[in-house]
Amino acid sequence: MNSDTSALALILTADPTLLAIVRLSLLVSLSAVAVAALIGLPLGALIALTRFRGREGVIVLLNALMGLPPVVVGLAVYLLLSRSGPLGSLGLLFTPSAMIVAQTILVTPIIAALARQTIEDLWTEYRDELTAMNVGPLARVATLIWDGRFSLVVALLAGFGRAAAEVGAIIIVGGNIEGFTRTMTTAIALETSKGDLPLAIGLGVVLIAIVIVVNAFAWMLRRAGERLAS
């Protein structure tokens, strides 16, 4: 049996090892996107709606942080969480929590930067109406996030894409421990280096399928929502 058919067999038989890895990967990436959304959406809105000294510098920095090298983030989180680091007492290193922290740091600038642009464009359109309706600052943010929700989904998808495909940060802070911190990307890297191509290919196929399914679902959700609301 060649590598391709072995990979297919792993998927079709719902191999428990494969499923455990997929489950952990989704848990880590979706958790990171959720936390990053909670930070990034309000942060993007805040930058979009306020004027302060150095604002343009903050926008340039935020845009630049979208290209943060994962291994550098992994190293920074490792230093923070290592036993001698400032947060070492939390005992998070080589746990899924550490991986979520690292991916959150990678994803937050992407969501915040894209949200900032979306919300700023919408604010330009809505400013006069909301000001005339005497809408307060918090209600403005809520309105802009809600009315921009279909565009903001793209920001969340970009964040999920980054998290799902990322390997450099989580392999450093997670340690790629079998059955505990091994995700699809870290397993693909390991199995490829070991020469176990069927599992690596199987995981690769599943990873790509998940990204396509998530994007297709979000696209359908967006189209349906736009038909109803805009």
Partner: protein
């Protein structure tokens, strides 16, 4: 500070608005009182929109003072405005009115009845659940009127509400404006359409190049204008 029960009269005392080196409004002194609609007329660029935005409190004067019932800096609680190109929020027609009601802190249990009443007033009951941004230009303009009325204003500013509408839609909007004025709401409307000004005005403020050239009762203004600029404008000649 509590808002006064009505924002009228609105007084402009020697108000100038500048945008860079350009003077958009030049030492305007004016009072807007309760009563029949006040129509701001004048050619494009005469300062009508800026005057409305000042009166609404959306922009501050560069010089001079604007007061609402004698008070400066009154939040726009009793005032509402319909812009020339109103922006519909990304929700249904009824959802747009519901949003305005919530923004005006109208109790939730009153929302449904108020939405029905306002949609009926502007003739959009059948379209209540259609996405607002899919309505035609005339329908959006009528919805914007209903949304503005949701605030229960004592003064309603209208910035060329029929500028891009066909005659049928224009008539629909003008009928609503008359109905609004009949309810005792002060209407202050900008237009460069002389016919519309004649049909709706109780009194007129004529602007040209950022200055108030003439004010007064509409009939007197149209029958015997006092200035050469007003005569030229009323005659339908080009006023440069």
């Amino acid at each position: 500070m509590r808002a006064p029960p009505s924002d009228l009269p609105i007084r402009f005392d020697d108000v100038t608005v500048s945008a860079g080196a350009v003077t958009v409004l030049d030492r305007v002194s004016l009072s807007i009182h309760a009563g029949a609609p006040t129509i701001l007329i004048g050619p494009n660029g005469s300062g009508k929109t800026t005057l409305l935005r000042l009166a609404m409190g959306l922009i501050p004067p560069s010089l001079g003072r604007v007061t609402w019932d004698g008070v400066a800096q009154v939040p726009p609680i009793k005032r509402a405005i319909v812009f020339q190109r109103p922006v519909m929020l990304r929700r249904s027609a009824a959802g747009n009115i519901r949003y305005a009601l919530a923004a005006a802190h109208i109790p939730k249990e009153q929302h449904d009845a108020r939405i029905m009443e306002l949609m009926a007033l502007v003739g959009l009951l059948d379209l209540a659940f259609r996405p607002a941004r899919r309505l035609s230009g005339g329908e959006q303009q009528r919805l914007a009127l209903a949304r503005a009325l949701a605030r229960d204003p004592t003064v309603l500013f209208l910035d060329e509400p029929t500028a891009s509408l066909d005659p049928a839609s224009t008539k629909a909007v003008e009928d609503i404006v008359r109905a609004i004025a009949a309810r005792g709401i002060k209407v202050v409307m900008a237009t460069h359409d002389l016919g519309e000004a004649r049909r709706l005005a109780g009194d007129v403020v004529f602007l040209h190049r950022g200055r108030v050239v003439e004010t007064g009762d509409a009939r007197t203004f149209f029958q015997s204008p006092q200035t050469g600029e007003a005569k030229t404008f009323i005659a339908g000649e080009l006023l440069l």
